[in-house]
Symmetry: D2
Subunit: 358 residues, 4 copies
């Protein structure tokens, strides 16, 4: 399908934006003239559909030149080409209005691990990100970077395999304040880790710049299924977190459905799929709202303070420590108290299933 | 087995130290007098065996008071008790000579995820670590903290599930310079992630303070098998990294075998197991040395620079970027070049198997 | 909790039966007199609560005598003891009215795989099952066997790790007609396989004799969570299959909730947990019924025959094959047709979430 | 690379045969004339290289006509076409000398599981296999079928996901004696199951007709790595089983390396990869031979009988059962005995690493 057609149909489905993958709009190796033609046609389609390009990204994984990685490749020529391609794609993204730039290093990794010290891989990736941050600042672009982790596929082991590893890597960048993460449900779920916890860690650090929504079963190839179609419990926990239905600030960035329809579908099926992603998100939002408004849930999740202990736990002083050590905790009584978590979790499942009786 | 007996026998096996788990030496709830007796008996055993206590830790997971977590528990009384217990155990560890203090938060997590906002869990863990860092500084102890991640078991999802997540968490601590990680082979391998890459990331950040060596198959309960008995390839890559056989600085901290013998064994079998851990480590060290000294390996892994490109890639300036964008990379030629990684990896396996022909 | 108490409370929750684990009623090593006292007390509790014992089983895994396996152990004394214990427990189960006898060989496996040829392990397990089938026939007991698979934990690798392997093993038994399977959600899910497919294979073979319901995440320790609390999609597919809401015969055996409450709970929480299992089962049953009655679903899942082809595909004859080879299939047209599976699956999720709009 | 070229080079590497994938030799949709030309050219190449075609197979997964499965597809036209294609490919395979025919049903599965009752999927696959067995018998072909399992990829869940499920399915076929399995290291390992145990179960049942050798990490996309390059411990256990180094009959069928070189390689690298597969197999064979000849290993693995018990355990009679129940087993003594498995396993690892000291 052409870019124009996709943009028009996505608009019909109620999408507010579309993300830009450089090679998808301008095929690898296009001439400058061909590029300009494709870009202006695409801009027109966006304007007609009333849509925006919130995010752009570079394909640094499909072409065989990236077979040893892009930013981390052993060959300086590959690293040079990766920077060239990214600077061009950043220019293009900014021209189309993107304010977030995603990096997914699909080839930054190894099968034959002896090919390079993994620390050199990390250093080179840091060099590249530092370089590109400076480029953006130099050009005065209004653009933030969002790094996307994945544990494996197409490489045996990709460097910085989870959002946690990526968050740490970001903390070592020269311009770390302009770099955040773009967690993807499928990528994080592959390792069997809690996606909601990863997103929470990113949010708590102020680093959730973008998010890729889809579905995945643990321990498998990258499935990119329709949002909410697998592990709907985690999907519920995620939407609850993003929408802040407990009263916390909601996530303000784009909710990007980065999934693809089953291979069994024709074009109609593809649009059913797109509608399904959005519809399930909305259902889960409503379910989360009802759950967090349920008085029994509120009672079970109320965080109870302790007038004596809370000040002693807050910030260390020698005096507080002395007092704290003198407090006598009734270990057995505290240990014995039931916490009501089975009831709480069952209530959550009943809300999720639309079966909470009044 | 009594602490005295274990210390004596470990000395016979060639171990240089033994780690201290507070409850293992001083049972939960012991009187002060009982504690002092046990401690002085243990000190004597150490002196007799010529062994040290390089590392100490607190058990914050076995007693039911920690069923909802220790530092992250909802009940302030639990958090208060966890701090009390840890301060006592730190005092004990320092008294016995420990310079590294390990935290494994086995109960810091959830099954019923709605019981608390995961961000509150992280905040409370940060508060506790900040508090304890101040305590150590206040007491002028010569002690560093090493945090140990685990994805699950005994909880459904433990917070900060991998070394990557933990490294990021450390970067948010007030006294982050005195806190590092204690990666464990089994814990990291459960999620199917590359253990060598996680350790490399910690080393590159100067954060590998301690390491727990054992073996594990991916996607299973915590096995804690004899070091090197599963995934000997990863074990080889790990030893190579720790010992710096490629010429990089070696890891200077303790190599702690945190494994346990099969349930089929009697006491003799347990000591066979302990000897096996150490013997395999030494074999792998020898194999790594031979591999990295092999001229064919050196040729295949030599990192070739590029006089024109290297300076352009190093640190961004507008002028360098202009030059870099003007360089014409021969994409097809670069993409086509074979990298010899199958040969390299096969050489690694042949060295590992002791089968590299002269 | 005593057996009497449990039986009374389970009756209150609406359970119709309770399963018998030999050691749970009669502790390992009890005298004959003690046994008889416990048994008659238990019988009375059952009668009072109007409950039955549909299934019984032997504990062949907790005592250290089984550390190398029970039926597959290398030591003939262990195998002899396992048969003795099982014959006793079969007698007890039959006395209490059990008509299904479950075998879970928790220790039949290895860590150190060289300890025995795995084929010897299988042969010994076959010998034991053949022996016990003959015992049951000899005693004229009205009893069938149900074998329960598990991939690992507490052993590194348990023999016959999935329901599929177990079904094949059964096909090699002398009295295979009296032996079926007891699939457990958690055990099968650990390997990431579709539980519904495994149950379907057993049902199609007439071998689903019993089922253990709980919940589990893929690639983890054995969690035994509250039924439906994880992977509610698979739970829905399972209930749909068991209840035959598409019009197929429903499974007539017991639905056994083999789960346990979180460690955070007191006794009230345990009963909340028990009620939650049953309640979620009923909700999913209602959801499956509504899904399969939905006209749009019926249209999408209608299996369309082909008057010309169906007879040619049915049973081979040379004449049919000649005709079949002569049929010209329009490959492109057939390949191109959209199958509507995204719509179908989204409808399933909306029914599951109680959100199917009229 | 052309078929002729591949055959010539494989001959140089020491391979004795090459397997036939119908579409690889004769592209999908070729005319009868084109087919005959390609076939006669291929026959000549085989004769020149002194190679044979031991195995042939049909591609029933790449073309979009198979997007809903081949033998299990809902559309009878697809099932008809799959039978046509397979009969043609069987004819071709037999013409080239194949005596084993492999079936890998890469598309026989689902993502949207409600699309068909999984029992109907199994029934249709049984109908197809029964049909094709009759076809082979009718044509008097000297050909056996080998079924290859895989848990997922390219489908969400493939029916009959492991060798165990497949073995059971075979037991339900009308001509089950002419059908066996073709286990593949990568496919079985994806689920984290012991490959050696699966192969042992097939061998014990006389059903190991073919085997696909490669390497894989647990819980990932299908990696098809160089044989022995991952999980060399399992590879050792496998070779030991296939070669019968403990004194059991060796597997007589083909050892098929079904792997592919890293994407980083040029043609030289591909041949390094092919040589590496064979070389590692030979090294592991030598290691297994030495291990099983080691007197200490022989002592540790000797299976000790029991003159009194062995006859009582063998085949049930009421008299034997009475005697067996009367035998007094010393439970504590039996439980306490150490089994020496840590020593045994360490010896295995030291043999594997070529480090067993004399």
């Amino acid at each position: 399908m052409s870019a124009t057609h996709i943009v028009a149909r996505l608009g019909d489905c109620g999408a507010y934006g579309v993300n830009l993958h450089d090679d998808d709009l301008v095929p690898f190796g296009s001439s400058a003239k061909a590029r300009d033609g494709l870009v202006s046609e695409f801009k027109k389609a966006l304007a007609d559909a009333g849509m925006v390009v919130p995010m752009a990204t570079t394909n640094l994984f499909s072409h065989p030149i990236f077979k040893d990685g892009a930013f981390s490749a052993n060959d300086p020529k590959v690293r040079a080409f990766a920077l060239q391609k990214t600077m061009n794609a950043i220019d293009l993204g900014v021209e189309l209005g993107a304010t977030t730039y995603v990096f997914w290093g699909g080839r930054e990794g190894t099968e034959a691990d002896a090919c390079r010290d993994p620390r050199d891989g990390l250093k080179r990736m840091r060099d590249a990100l530092d370089y590109l941050c400076e480029y953006v600042k130099d050009r005065c672009y209004d653009l933030r970077f969002a790094l996307e982790a994945k544990p494996n596929e197409p490489r045996g082991d990709i460097y910085l395999p989870t959002t946690g590893h990526m968050l740490h890597f970001i903390s070592t960048l020269a311009n770390h304040e302009m770099v955040g993460v773009n967690p993807e449900v499928a990528h994080e779920t592959m390792s069997g880790l809690s996606f909601a916890h990863a997103v929470a860690q990113a949010m708590e650090a102020g680093k959730l710049f973008h998010i890729d929504l889809n579905a995945q079963r643990i321990g498998r190839y990258d499935q990119d299924l329709r949002f909410g179609s697998e592990d709907v419990r985690q999907a519920f926990l995620l939407v609850r977190l993003l929408e802040g239905t407990t009263g916390t600030p909601r996530y303000e960035g784009p909710r990007h459905f980065d999934a693809h329809a089953y291979r069994t579908e024709d074009e109609d099926g593809v649009w059913e799929f797109a509608r399904g992603c959005m519809r399930t998100y909305k259902i889960l939002h409503a379910r989360a709202r009802a759950f967090d408004a349920d008085p029994e849930v509120r009672a079970l999740t109320a965080q109870v303070g302790n007038r004596e202990l809370d000040p002693l736990l807050a910030r260390y002083t020698p005096a507080k420590a002395t007092k704290l050590r003198a407090v006598r905790i009734d270990v057995d009584a505290t240990a014995k108290r039931g916490l009501g978590y089975e009831r709480l979790d069952q209530l959550m499942m009943e809300h999720l299933l639309g079966a909470r009786s009044a």
